[in-house]
Amino acid sequence: MIIELGHFALILAFVLALTQASLPLIGAARGNAALMAVARPAAFGQLIFLLLAFAALMYAFVTSDFSVQVVAANSHTAKPMLYKIAGLWGNHEGSLLLWVLILALFGAAVAGVGDNLPATLRARVLSVQAMIATGFLSFMLATSNPFTRLIPAPLDGNGLNPLLQDPGLAFHPPFLYLGYVGFSMAFSFAVAALIEGRVDPAWARWVRPWTLAAWCFLTIGIAMGSWWAYYELGWGGWWFWDPVENASFMPWLAGTALLHSAVVVEKRDALKSWTVLLAILTFSLSLLGTFIVRSGVLSSVHAFATDPARGVFILGFLVLVIGGSLILYAIRAPNLKGGGIFAPISREAALVLNNWLLATACATVLLGTLYPLLMDALSGGTDKVTVGAPFYNATFTPLMVPLLLMMALGPLMSWKRADLAGVLSRLRFALGLSVVTMLVVWYLREEGPVLAVFGIGLGAWLIGGAMTDLAERIRLFRVPFSASLARAAGLPRASWGAMLAHGGVGIVVLGITASSAWTEEKIVLMQPGDEATVSGYVYRFIRAEQGPGPNYTALRGQFEVSKNGVPVVSLAPEARSYPTPPMDTTEAAIYPMLSGDLFAVIGNPQGDRGWSARLYFRPLQSWIWAGAILMTIGGVISLSDRRHRVGAPRRAATPRPGGTPAPLPAE
């Protein structure tokens, strides 16, 4: 009964979405306040009904109700409760329900706190949001209903892939979706602004917090997925340029460009059509990702069970949403007159450069991801290529270098016209830090690619740049220290956020460079008592034995790791065999340290020659995750800036004496 109620709630949500998509839009066009006012209750109603539907499906999973088809296909009584819950979104239908729920959540949030938006803009934003929801809900109701019954119900479910019974993997989809779907808000704002025919600083101030929130979630979601791959896939890889990984990375790149572009609209009333286009494209890339995972068009480890019929539906929806918004853009964008003029050397120009490089990088990833398909289609299946990591290393990485170099300069440049020589001289510290770090690394690690040393230098440059940014803002060493501290306390949170995020990028760069260039790997056959040395760490193999686990059998190895005779840690890697569905997995034993990760993997015995083992030392590996977390913290701090909640500055009620306009909040 609850399932049927859930289904009914889904239908009601669809009806509300349809209403919300149409009436407020008509109302805004005609200036009819009553019709526009429909948006808000409709948005709340949509959220409530989708929460009910979600709760109903959750109930089915939690109680292991195998009369529901998706539960029978994806769950099992023996699964721990945490993974029964996570199983809800580990499949096509359930994940779509999560999608629309988050869509409704963002819509209701704007409906709730959007009081100081102009009424017509708010109505249009909610309408566009609802149009997206209508599309997804109709798709669900027509082809992917999570509430379909399976009669007769089986005694037990098909069990979830043991790989998915993992906290990291179980919770990375919700974060990703909050990111993907969060960008729908920027999209809705952009389309609404195009319909209105006006993009102004107020609009940018409104878009930024939603975009920032989505960006934070997506950053964490991608980092979680990458971290999962690192510890689960057994050989320390954490990024494979797999099509679905790329599908999450592209909106991130575009979203980063969007965030920075919106700043220019807000502060200088320029780059309007660029920003609107980025908002449309970022969400379009999210939708593209949704399509790629579910259509079977590209070969990927991540793909859900594929069905061409669903693929056609999603593609049609994509064409409608993206095509429609781009037609609107083509017609209306030329009317968005830009305000601020800026010199070729200025903060605006630096942000334009930033956008240019990020957009090209994003396009490069798109090209690489879709090219195999393009070649297959054009050659009639006779000529296929693989676009693997070597392509991206050759094309994406060179684009990032100038971008990262610029990142230290940008925050120090002034609007409209900047003094490049002055900025560079202020970055002396960062340059010094970079050079010193490179020399130290060169001395310590003579072997390895030369480019890696530059990578380290780049990371140090970015951290130095972030520190310089802070020092400049608080006038460190130019005013008494107490005054600097006071200034630091008074700095807007958005500034702190930016500095932390940029510093975080530097840490990530250091982590990526070190672990890619100087990881040492030993692949050996070991007998108990054997030792292998990796980067000064001695792995001593103690024993290996077969044993049972909750729903698997495992070969458990034991290694004692020491350095210079001092014991460091005891590692216990496993090789597991799951019966249903039959699958072998490797559980690496990882010990993260500040200087790097110890990483051990054990494999099956090779006759009487011993057990096979892969032993690693991966320098600065954890800095990648730490940097990503720092970036997200920066984003969250920036979000908590009071100015974002205040909204657009209001004109002063009474003219101030002297006739000067009320000052904008301090930057």
Partner: protein, 176 residues
Amino acid sequence: MRWQSFLPLIVVSFLAAVLFVGLELDPKIVPSALIDKPVPQFDLPPLPGKEPGLIAADLARGGISLVNVWASWCGPCRIEHPQLMEIAKIEGVRMIGLNYKDDPAKALAFLQQLGDPYESVGTDRTGRVAIEWGVYGVPETFLIDGHGRIVLKHVGPLRPEDIPEKILPAIQAASQ
């Protein structure tokens, strides 16, 4: 209305067309690198009691040959077997089997149970010769023309509709 504003739309339309076509394609199928090239010159021993094995030179003797890669442990091979029996009835097509990483006794039992469409079967116990043919899964089927050149490769089991749609036209073309 500036024409440049239409660029994103044009690019996206092109991508949509590509994706639409992509829905009909299978990204996992690898096209053969040996089309229009001579068959790999490797001979394979026969199954016990079923002489001869796979003699590469025979494939260039003239006349169309169909080389089918199969194994007794392969489920889809059972599914496609009726189609092979059908093709065996066609005049002028020499049916040759390539038994991949199989136990000869089980292979013989398979043929006894389901029928033997093959004129000869070569056994590739290690799979090395199959790699020479560019085989990466079972079943796979190759069509060879009268000059010992590979003209068609079909990946996966042969479905009934594949015979009139793919195999027969290819045989026709190769006979010319």
